[in-house]
Symmetry: C2
DNA sequence: GTCTATATGCTGATAGAC
DNA sequence: GTCTATCAGCATATAGAC
């Protein structure tokens, strides 16, 4: 029953277990501090099996990083010219806040990677992001030129939206400590979304 | 000439060299990844001397963390009721942006510590911060009740100011990549300060 | 695919000469 | 105070039985 029954299934399940476990260990222990043994323990598998699927630690990290970036990218929505400034910003903030509360780990992995100097990040990832920001900046510029929003620097606006939304993921420990709470509750997403949306729209002159 | 001439001077200089080197290594390599050997190399001292002054790696990290927190705390200025909302927020943003550009390393050390779960942070540091936020939130509440600023959640406002200003320190690599630049220039502090100040004041209804 | 045993290399920390 | 030599422990990764 257990042997070779669903050949690819075992593999997929194991890989998923390993990546989930690895994400936690890499966040709390850092790259070097994360031992293959601790990843295996967290995944409920023998160490040798982990190395069977990934060959070495670096491959595990790369897989975690890639999965994380993909998930994050898919979740943050988009800014399109058709929506107009108000709706576009509203949508974007809501998507980012929701991602931050529902998947803080992805944000943390990415944040640590950047803070440490993006040593494992491929060049294309950086170029891609530069392109993304420039493209969106152009859209903001279009709205500004048409007088549809305040004349502010679009790149810094994007930075502000990124940082203020991701803060609830990356610094969740600090936020919760200050709020004197153990965990986020479901109302928090709505509350933070409302705060940030109205604050930022006002900052953009879109009230 | 070299021996026992200025007994305390050598010690102070060595300790300073070690802490400066350690800050860099801890940021790029993480706690576990930072080897005493690499700290010693960066400081230009033999490994044994580093351990002579600090006994073990954890002591080095604690010293770096403490020095970092003190420096950061001293640099972020304050929010006082006498200044009124507009001036207080202006001062606070300027102080934080200046610190972020002039001492990004302190911000990074702190950010990594929080992201990783504040494992090395003492309880009193967390309690202190909670007190600080509550105290400042009360001041904002006072201004709001007097109708001197928009009715917004003060705690989330503090989070937004923290995150948007620290972003230029913690994510300097990303910011510079997107701007396609190698380093910050002196105009950047002024530019970012102006952007954030006017944006956030507008968000607070203080234009 | 799963698991045990082991080789190899590196790290933190100490001992002790100078 | 400074530095060399060294040890004990641990982590990655592999070999190979099942």
């Amino acid at each position: 029953m257990k042997k070779n029954n669903k050949p690819q299934k075992v593999r997929a399940v194991s890989i998923d277990k390993i990546l989930t476990a690895a994400q936690d260990v890499f966040i709390t222990q850092g790259y070097k501090g994360a031992t293959v043994q601790s990843i295996a323990d967290n995944a409920g598998l023998p160490k040798a099996n982990v190395l069977y699927y990934f060959q070495n630690k670096e491959n595990i990290y790369h897989a975690v990083l890639e999965q994380t970036l993909t998930m994050w990218d898919e979740g943050i929505g988009d800014i399109t010219i058709e929506d107009g400034p108000k709706l576009a910003i509203e949508k974007f903030i809501r998507a980012k806040v929701t991602m931050s509360f529902k998947n803080p780990k992805a944000s943390k992995i990415y944040a640590m990677e950047i803070i440490q100097g993006a040593q494992h990040l491929q060049d294309f990832a950086r170029t891609y992001q530069r392109q993304w920001v420039r493209e969106k900046a152009k859209i903001f510029k279009y709205w500004i030129d048409k007088g549809e929003m305040q004349d502010i620097d679009p790149v810094n606006l994007i930075f502000l939206i990124w940082s203020s939304t991701q803060h609830y993921a990356d610094f969740d420990n600090q936020v919760l400590t200050i709020m004197n709470r153990a965990d986020y509750e479901k109302d928090d997403i709505e509350h933070v979304t409302n705060f940030l949306t109205s604050f930022i729209l006002r900052g953009c002159g879109l009230t």
